[in-house]
Amino acid sequence: MSSKSQEIEAVLGQKYRHGFVTDIESDSLPPGLDESVVAAISRRKQEPQFLLDWRLKAFRHWRTMREPAWASVRYKPIDYQDISYYSAPRAPTDAPKSLDEVDPKLLATYEKLGIPLHERARLAGVAVDAVFDSVSVATTFKDKLAKAGVIFCSFSEAVRNHPELIERHLGTVVPIQDNFFAALNSAVFSDGSFVYVPPGVRCPMELSTYFRINAAKTGQFERTLIIAAEGASVSYLEGCTAPMRDENQLHAAVVELIALDDAQIKYSTVQNWYPGDENGVGGIYNFVTKRGECRGRNAKISWTQVETGSAITWKYPSCVLKGENSVGEFYSVAVANNFQQADTGTKMIHIGRNTKSTIVAKGISAGHATNTYRGLVKILPGADGARNFTQCDSLLMGSRCAAHTFPYMEVRNPGATVEHEASTSKIGEDQLFYCLQRGVSAEDAVNMIVSGFCKAVFKELPMEFAVEAQNLLSVSLEGAVG
């Protein structure tokens, strides 16, 4: 029995593959946070007054807030004065106009990650808005998107070129006072992505951004805003990986999605940040606020995530279902190995009539890791005919890991239907042995079993992303996945 567990752990014990540091000089602010730092960030980015005011308002509010302590994660207190809040790759001109102008070292970094930017973009027809540290350095396929009327650019660019869209929508889904980390992000956010799909337009390609945390001790505060106007649809892919280092790195992103009447937004994430070593040293702290609002009738927002990285993950992509007949979906695979702590889940807030939501959450724990699912399904009195289906499954590998499930339900409309299913299983030694007896290696067997467990989520990912997700899962759980 125990020797089998050891075997599983040996298989799982593969080291983080994406651990390396690119030494591009960073133009960073010294550590520390006060109003002058907030103003300095805004000034460097040449932001309009409304945004500076908004940042300062957020900062003032943040100072009155306390860090949440309710998640099932433990970590050393973060010293917010010991973090540098701005870092930009140094470049001769402001932004490169083509890939040729991009720092070759940066491109080499992408190569190492297995993401040859230009090739990938050309072959897969994916527009890549590559975020390296905090500033966008390469954006492709803009023309094709522009023809369709789609705006896809870095957040800073959107602030410069479409300030009215930013001013109208920023903070309308995640208000500055929403939570501690969202307030902090609102004060100091560095950059991120902006998408606007005009009425009736189906975005002609999947939009993809690779995030990468690179400068030492630099907190990352990405801000993403995606707007799908009436009848528009868009699929957005977010993927990331980080270099190996000893310092814990704070990451507090905010993502806001807005779907108007008949609009659809599909947001897929593969997250593979450095989780810390086998002893739990280092790794990323990932405190993210992701929320989508189905503002119009028949709108649909779908979150799909594969979370394999970070030392600590605190993340609840949510849907506010305001519009009649609107639909929210959440499909998640969260893997926690070694000393990783994951506290993830979703919130589905049903406000409009006949709103529907589906939650499929798969948690995999190995080593000493803890994996917590925390979900809230809230059905307000006006949400006649609302329906929710929730399924939470946990898979335990070995005997020292843990899984917790906290499904909260708040149903204030008697006509609503809420269904919940949950299961916890140990990776069967019987299952493993069965595969071995057929000649399959332990590594392949574990991956097969895990992949089978995750199937319901993987099938929600866009094709090529599904392959990538399985690859990332394999890095955490090693080998090829069926």
């Binding site: 029995m1 020797s3 089998k4 069967g428 030694e429 019987d430 299952q431 042995f433 069965y434 595969c435 071995l436 007896q437 057929r438 000649g439 399959v440 290696s441 332990a442 392949d444 097969m448 079993i449 992949s451 089978g452 467990f453 995750c454 199937k455 319901a456 069926g482």
Partner: protein, 255 residues
């Protein structure tokens, strides 16, 4: 006359959870032979099968096993499988979400790789498995289902034989593959096993019932009791057991 031994078990002793189960098993299986092992519940038949397959829960405490001249007990379970040792499980496990055909293809390729053969391509594999399924009278829907996921007891056993036919093992140990089968299914399973018979392959049938042996005629029959083989004979021994039970042998031993 049978050729050289495929499997030689000598004085094999094994325990599980500190409890001694196998108490000195001696058995020789020649190429092309079919052996039947019968014996009362709890006597250690499945334990023997699992020890041969390399299940780590079982502690080998003495004795040895050679398989085609190699030290079987020194090999990892997957190496044993790739070398041609197949175990048809008494209770085949369900693996949800893992495609039945996918597992089998991975298994076949692992075996081919060891033999220095190229991987089977998807078309070739599909043609092969479809032919074998037809032979086993299995619906092709089973291809795309999860491994044994939601299969009935009889379907699981049929699936075991299907896997055996695709992997073409050198030695197959079938642990109560006949239990829980209706009479038609029993005939199909027997047909599958018989189709594999040949001068290079050996089969061990662990069973409680003469009925199976009506369809698959064994060369040798062994009676297993309290962790060892008490008596061996030809197929007539199975008939005698059917009519007289095990007591006479066990008593005979005491006497």
């Amino acid at each position: 006359m049978p050729g050289k031994n495929v499997l030689t078990i000598s004085k094999l002793r094994a325990s599980v959870a500190g409890k001694s189960i196998l108490k000195g098993v001696d058995l020789q299986i020649g190429a092309g032979e079919v052996h039947a092992i019968m014996g009362p519940n709890g006597s250690g038949k499945s334990t023997l099968a699992q020890v041969l397959a390399g299940r780590e829960d079982y502690e080998v405490e003495g004795g040895g096993v050679t398989f085609d001249g190699q030290d079987l007990l020194a090999m990892r379970p997957e190496e044993r499988a790739r070398a041609g040792f197949f175990l048809g499980f008494q209770y085949p496990v369900e693996i949800p979400g893992v495609n039945n055909a996918y597992l089998l293809k991975a298994a076949l390729n692992a075996k081919r790789k060891r033999a220095g053969m190229p991987e089977v391509d998807a078309y070739e594999f599909l043609a092969l498995i479809k032919a074998k399924m037809k032979f086993m009278q299995m619906n092709e829907a089973f291809l795309s289902r999860g491994v044994n996921e939601g299969f009935s007891g009889g379907e699981k056993k049929r699936n075991e034989i299907l896997q055996m036919l695709v992997l073409e093992p050198r030695l197959a140990v079938l642990d109560e593959t006949d239990s829980g089968l209706d009479i038609d299914a029993l005939k199909v399973v027997a047909k599958g096993v018989n189709s594999l018979r040949g001068p290079d392959r050996s089969i061990v049938l662990i069973t409680h019932y003469q009925r199976l042996l009506d369809y698959i005629e064994p060369d040798h029959v062994h009676v297993f009791s309290d962790g060892r083989i008490l008596k061996s004979g030809d197929k007539s021994l199975a008939r005698e057991l059917e009519s007289r039970g095990y007591d006479w042998i066990q008593e005979g031993r005491v006497a």
